[in-house]
Symmetry: C2
Subunit: 507 residues, 2 copies
Amino acid sequence: MYEDRIKPRSLWSKVVTPEEAALHIRDGMTVGMSGFTRAGEAKAVPLALAERGRREPLKITLLTGASLGNDLDKTLAEANVLARRLPFQSDPALRKRINAGEVMFVDQHLSETVEMLRSRQLGPVDVAIVEAVMIKEDGSIVPTTSVGNSATFAMLAEKVIVEINLTLSPVMEGLHDIYIPTRRPFRGPIPITRPDDRVGVPSIAIDPSRIAAIVITAKEDSCAAIQPPDAETKLIAGHLTEFLTNEVRRGRLGSSLAPLQAGIGSIANAVLHGFLDTDFHDLTMYSEVLQDSTFDLFDAGKMVFASGSSITLSPERHDQVLHDIGRYKSRLVLRPQEISNHPEVIRRLGLIAINTALEADIYGNVNSTHVAGSQMMNGIGGSGDFARNAYLSVFVTKSTAKGGAISSIVPFATHVDHCEHDVDLIVTEQGLADLRGLAPRERAAVVIDTCVHPEYRDLLRDYYRDAERTVGGQTPHRLDRAFALHLAYQTHGDMRRAAEVPEAAAE
Amino acid sequence: MYEDRIKPRSLWSKVVTPEEAALHIRDGMTVGMSGFTRAGEAKAVPLALAERGRREPLKITLLTGASLGNDLDKTLAEANVLARRLPFQSDPALRKRINAGEVMFVDQHLSETVEMLRSRQLGPVDVAIVEAVMIKEDGSIVPTTSVGNSATFAMLAEKVIVEINLTLSPVMEGLHDIYIPTRRPFRGPIPITRPDDRVGVPSIAIDPSRIAAIVITAKEDSCAAIQPPDAETKLIAGHLTEFLTNEVRRGRLGSSLAPLQAGIGSIANAVLHGFLDTDFHDLTMYSEVLQDSTFDLFDAGKMVFASGSSITLSPERHDQVLHDIGRYKSRLVLRPQEISNHPEVIRRLGLIAINTALEADIYGNVNSTHVAGSQMMNGIGGSGDFARNAYLSVFVTKSTAKGGAISSIVPFATHVDHCEHDVDLIVTEQGLADLRGLAPRERAAVVIDTCVHPEYRDLLRDYYRDAERTVGGQTPHRLDRAFALHLAYQTHGDMRRAAEVPEAAAE
C-alpha cells in the first residue's frame, strides 16, 4: 500500500503510529522539525508528543525552519513540552509563554541556525522529523511545501522520523533543490548566479538506516491568515512602484527590476500584489516564502520565475495551486533556507528586499521583533539576511496602529534589529523616504516629512529640533525623552499624549 | 627622472604641482580618495585643496576607503572644504564638525560604498586621487600601503590624479590583488576559498587617457597611535585565548583556529598580540587592517598568511616592516575593501572576528559608533561586515571608562550597530560571556555575572530584576529607566549615581 510513496521495500516495516514514532523522543532531547512559514511541518508526531507531554515529564528543545501551522506551536506550548525554541515562531499561545519567560526563545537570522549546528556551536540534534511526499529508491527524502532546515536536520540527527503526507501529489518531486555548503575550511562558492539556477539534488540524501520510523498522514498545511490589500497597503504599494518606475526611468534598473524578496505577511503580500498594475515584466523572485502574490504574478504573466524555501497560501489559493503544482513547477524552486537566505547569493544577485517594520525611528533604525522593546512578536526571521545584503532594502509599515494611538515612526526604536546602515527606503501609506546616501540629520527630516502620520508630525519634529538644539551630534537624541511616546501609550493608552510624560532628567 | 616610477613615457608630461592637480577639483564635486586606516592616502593634492578652500568657495563630497592619516581630515575640515564625508573617519577635528552638523557624515559598512557607486545609487565620482608606488607600462596603477576603495574610484571617476610616493619601494608591486565583482545580473562568485588565494591582478587597470595629473610626493604614512597592551587588555586577550583553547579541546576548532579578523585599535591589537603566548600555530588572517600584531605573529612563526586592505603600523614597527616588505610579501596580500570585507567571503571562510565595542547592553546589543547615542566617534567601519557573517563574532571592551565613571555595559545601548543576533561573545577584563544559543534573559545573567565591573553589577542586576518583574517579555526593559545610567553621567558625571535619576514614568 506504500509502494508509490516508500520505494525501498525494506523501509515498509518502519511504518508505525505517531505515538510509536514519538517514543524515539525523550525528555531533554533536541528535535529538528520540518516546517517554514506554516508550510510542510510534520503534523502527526508533534501531536503525539504533546499528548505524552501532558502525562509525563517531557521537555525538549525544538528547532524548526520557521513558524509552524496547524496550531502545533500552541499545542506543544500548552502541553509544556517546549523548554527551548528556535529560530522563529508566530503563535500567540507560544508567544505568551516566551514573554512570560517559560520558554527560552532564541531568535536567529534564518540563514544561521544550521551553520551553528554544523559547526557544533549548537546541538547535537537527537531526532529529526521531516514531512515528505515520498522516500525514493535510494532512501532519499522528497520534502513537501517547504524545505526550511529539513535537509540539515535529517543529515545531522541521530534518528530520522519521516511523515509521508498523502494529500500532496508525488508530482512535487523535482520542485526542490537541495544544496548544502561544503565543510569549512574546504568550502567553495555557492554556484547560484540566477534565481532559476539549480545547483543541488531534488531530494534529501541520507543513509536509510537512520530512518527510525515512518508515519503516514493526510493532514493539509494551514492556510495563511493574510488580509487582502486595503486602502493603506495599496497606497504603500503605489509609493513603492512609483519609486521603482522612476528608478527605471533614471536608468538605475531595467524594466524587469532585480530579483524580488518579500517578507511574510499581509503588507508585503499587498505590495507585491501592487506590481500587477505596473509595466514591469519578466519579474523574478529570490525570496523565502512564496505567497498568493507570487502566483497572481505568474498567472498575470508578470513573473517568470520564483525561488523560495516554502509555499504558503490563502484558503482561496491553496487547493488550486497545490493541485496545479505540475503547471507551476518549471517556474519554481524550493531551497534550504540557508540558501534562500544566504548573504553570498543575496549580495551577488542584488535583490530588492521588502520587509515589514514593527516600528522605525526617525533615523531609520528598524524594530522587527519587540513590542515596546520587551514583548516578542515573532522573531527577526529572514529580514536581516535580506536587508543587510540587498541592492535595495525596503521597510514597509502603516504609519499608525491601534486606531492612531500608536505611531509606527518613533524618536528612538525600542529594539533595533536593522540598524540605519541597512535601511534604504521606509514606506508608509503617507509616503516613501529615500534614505540612500543621507546623513542621520537629513534622514530624520525626510522620514518625518514623508512617512509620519500628520497627527504625529509635530510631535516628532519637536523631538528632533529639541534634540538637535540641546544635544546635537551625528544623531541628535534626548535620552530623557527618547521613549516619551511609548511611555504615554503605556500610561494613557495613546502616544499622542507624550507631552504629559515628564522628563527622566536627573534633579 | 620618473623612468622607474612612470613607465609610460607619454604620461611624463602629466606631472604637475599639487596645486595644479588640485585645479581639476571644483566646487560641488565628488572626490574619491585613496586611504584606509591612515595608510596609503593621497598626501599632497588634499593639502593644496585645503589651501584653495581657505581662499575661495570650495565644498566637496569626499569619499575614501576609511580614515586618513597626516591630519588630512583635520586640515580639510578646518578649511571648510568638506560638505559630505563617507564612509568612515577618525579625526577629532572633523568629528567635532560632524557632531555640530556642519559636515554631513554618511556612516556606512565599508564593503558597501563602491557597491552603491557602481549601481549609481551614489555618485557619480568626478575625480579620483590615488596614491601609487608606480604606473606600469600599460598605464595601470600600483597602490601603496592600502587598496581601500581606490580601484573602483579610479575606474568610475571622470578624471584620475595619481600621487607617486617616492618613499615606498617599487618592491611593493605584487603585494596587491585587485579583484572587482562583475556587474549584476551577470555577477559570478568571488573565487576566494582561502586567505592566500589571489584572484585578481596586481595593479589597478584604467585607461591612461583618464589620468589627468600626476604628482610626485615623498611623505610617509602617519604611524598608528596604538597603545601597547596594558593589564586590562592582557586580561581580555587571556580570556579569549583560554576560551579558544577550550574550543580546540572540544573539537570545535583545530589548533590553527579559523582565519582571524581584528578591528583597528589598541584593544584588538592587544588581543591578537595575546596569541603569541598560545600553542595555536599556522594562524591566518582575513582582515581589513594589518597592524603590528600581524607582523609580531609572523616574526614569532605563529602566523603563515595575512590578507587585508591596508598596513598600519606603530612608529616602532613602521620603518622596519616597510623596508623589509620584500621579506613579508609572499605572506601578505592587500585587497580592495569590498573584497576584504565581503559577506560572501567572510561567511565562506568562517572567520573569528574580533571587534571593539564602545558600549554593549546586558542583552548583547552593541554600540560601536555613538557616544551617549548622539555624538559620533569614528563610524561602524567593517565591524558589521565581519560580525554578521563570522563563524564567531567577538566584541571586546574594557568594562569601564573615565576612571570608573562610565560602565561599558549598560541596560540599553544608546545606539545599536550590532544587534543581539550578531554577537556571540562579549569579553571585558572581568571575563568572557559566551552568548551562543542563549535567549535574552539568559544572556543578561551571563553578561552581568561575567563582563560587568563589580562596581556596576548590583546596579545592572537590579535593573534587570525590576524589568523582569514589572514588565517581563523576551527582553525585559523598563523604558522609563533604560537610560538612567547615561542620564546620571550627564548630570552627575558618574553612572554609579543612576539611582538619583527620577523615572520618566507618566504622572
